[in-house]
Amino acid sequence: MGLKEYLNDIVEAVVTTAKGMRITARYGLDPKEETTLQYPEERWELPERYRGFLHNDINTCISCNMCVKTCPMDCISLEAVRGADKKMVLASYDINIGRCMYCGLCVEVCPPKSLKHSLGYEMASVNREQLILRFVQEDASEVKARVARQVAEAAAKAESPAAGKPAPPAKGETKE
């Protein structure tokens, strides 16, 4: 190593260090450069398309099972029974958001667009049970029993000559 190279090394080290330190100093002294968001107090604005927790509007859900079939993680479970008016009645609709990977495939295939991503993203819980979102508030067996009763009633009505027209459509069991 020649003397020139030797001195060159020293000069280069000093110059490049100074260059770097100028940049860090600029960022250090400029308070506008801070980018941290103080999370619980400040939040960033979520875009329209944000894929947060899934939410199913069970009033419009037609229990078609598309979301269940398309879910790669099998995190949606749906139970439905055929109501008195031949429409499906949801007995239970659970989404295990502990398994959900928010891919949005179920939302895309939903024919009535009842299943949507909400903007929610905060749901820390200490047990996994709480990570299962239940959209039908009633117990599944209760719904089933009630629907079965309605079906039986409708059948009875249809059989009796007095009742000429079909039973009124079974209302969705909705109390979201």
């Binding site: 260090t17 770097g20 940049i23 860090t24 801070e34 103080q38």
Partner: protein, 371 residues
């Protein structure tokens, strides 16, 4: 200390019966306590400032949850370190493992004793001050080596070995870079060295401006001292991205805390030495601190000294958050091929300068030109 004790006994009547050594001992303990309190405070605040500086440079905020704007963060850290479980690995060499942090801490803390904080503010104005600092700071090597060895962890061992090699290598350039200041003052006592820089409005008397060689000496010392105290570009013994955490990887709780405090202690000692040896120490610009009333002189000089030292500490932090880490063979090369030859060259230059110009620096020569 003895002289102070005697004068104290003379001044305070009811101490007359107490033997001189007892008073001196009490005084020593008191002074040590004050210095320790200062050191611990600095180390706490230093860690906070370090994190704040890091936050600023890295476009984030830094600690801001404990106390207003995060100023009590260091207390929280301290409490956490004290309360955490102090683990000892099952296969560690227990006595050595337990002892190592004290070596490191003592090595760093003992340096505070000769730091000239002000006109009369020095715990012990040793006549071998500079070499005392170098000697006690070498104690750190033993601590790091012990920690690395006794942890019975290969990463720690590598860290300890690196630390030993590094600190021993860099003792030489550090020592050689300090000698110019000693030569100019003609004394190893830090107070004498600071006093020798008092002239010429207290700024141009600094050794930094004495002659070109001392100017370079300052930078050489700063670089070498960074390496000797394992600050970042040279933090190889810890090297968290290579050796996980190096020699202190197995430590937790307060024992880790000692390493942590020692790191900041070293930082301050280096900054204080830089200030005292090259930047005029406690000399107040345009004043003679010694001519002021005792209390004012000391307070002002203390302020000036701490101001300078903290500036140096800030620069060290700034460097730390800018530069990447050097490799172990390059570290050795830097010491033996660059710093040691350069410090020798500088030493030669300063000696010749002092010989040729009869001990006068450039500012003094310019001043004498204008009468």
């Amino acid at each position: 200390m003895e002289a102070l004790a005697i004068s104290l006994i003379k001044a305070v009547p009811f101490l007359g019966a107490v033997p001189v050594w007892a008073v001196a001992l009490v005084l020593m303990v008191a002074v040590a306590a004050v210095v320790l309190a200062f050191a611990l405070t600095f180390e706490g605040v230093g860690s906070l400032v370090l994190r704040k500086v890091a936050g600023d440079i890295q476009v984030r905020i830094g600690p801001n949850r404990v106390g207003p704007n995060g100023v009590l963060q260091f207390l929280a850290d301290g409490v956490k370190l004290i309360l955490k479980e102090d683990l000892t690995p099952a296969s560690a060499d227990r006595p050595l493992f337990k002892m190592a942090p004290y070596f490191v801490f003592v090595g760093s803390f003992a340096g505070f004793v000769v730091v000239p904080f002000g006109v009369g503010l020095i715990a012990a104005d040793l006549n071998i001050g500079v070499y005392y600092v170098m000697a006690v700071s070498s104690l750190v090597v033993i601590g790091i080596l012990l920690a690395g060895w006794s942890s019975n962890n290969k990463w720690a061992l590598l860290g300890g070995m690196r630390g030993a090699a590094q600190i021993i290598s860099y003792e030489i350039p550090v020592g050689l870079a300090l000698i110019p200041a000693v030569m100019i003052a003609g004394s190893l006592s830090l107070q004498d060295i600071v006093r020798s820089q008092g002239g010429l409005w207290g700024i141009f008397g600094w050794n930094l401006f004495h002659n070109p060689f001392t100017f370079f000496s300052f930078f050489l010392y700063f670089t070498a001292a960074q390496a000797e105290t394992n600050q970042t570009p040279f933090d190889l013994p810890e090297a968290e991205s290579e050796l996980v955490s190096g020699y202190n990887v197995e430590y937790s709780g307060i024992r880790f805390g000692y390493f942590f405090l020692a790191e900041f202690g070293d930082m301050f000692v280096v900054a204080a030495l830089t200030t005292a040896l090259f930047l005029g120490g406690w000399n107040i610009p345009f004043f003679h601190a010694e001519t002021l009333p005792w209390i004012w002189g000391n307070l002002l000089s203390l302020g000036v000294f701490l101001g300078k030292a903290f500036t140096i500490v800030l620069i060290m932090m700034w460097v730390r958050w800018t530069l990447p880490r050097i490799r172990v063979d390059q570290l050795m090369r830097l010491s033996w091929k660059y710093l040691i030859p350069l410090t020798f060259f500088n030493l030669l230059g300063v000696s010749l300068w002092l010989l040729v110009f009869n001990g006068k620096g450039i500012p003094a020569m310019i001043a004498s030109l204008f009468g």
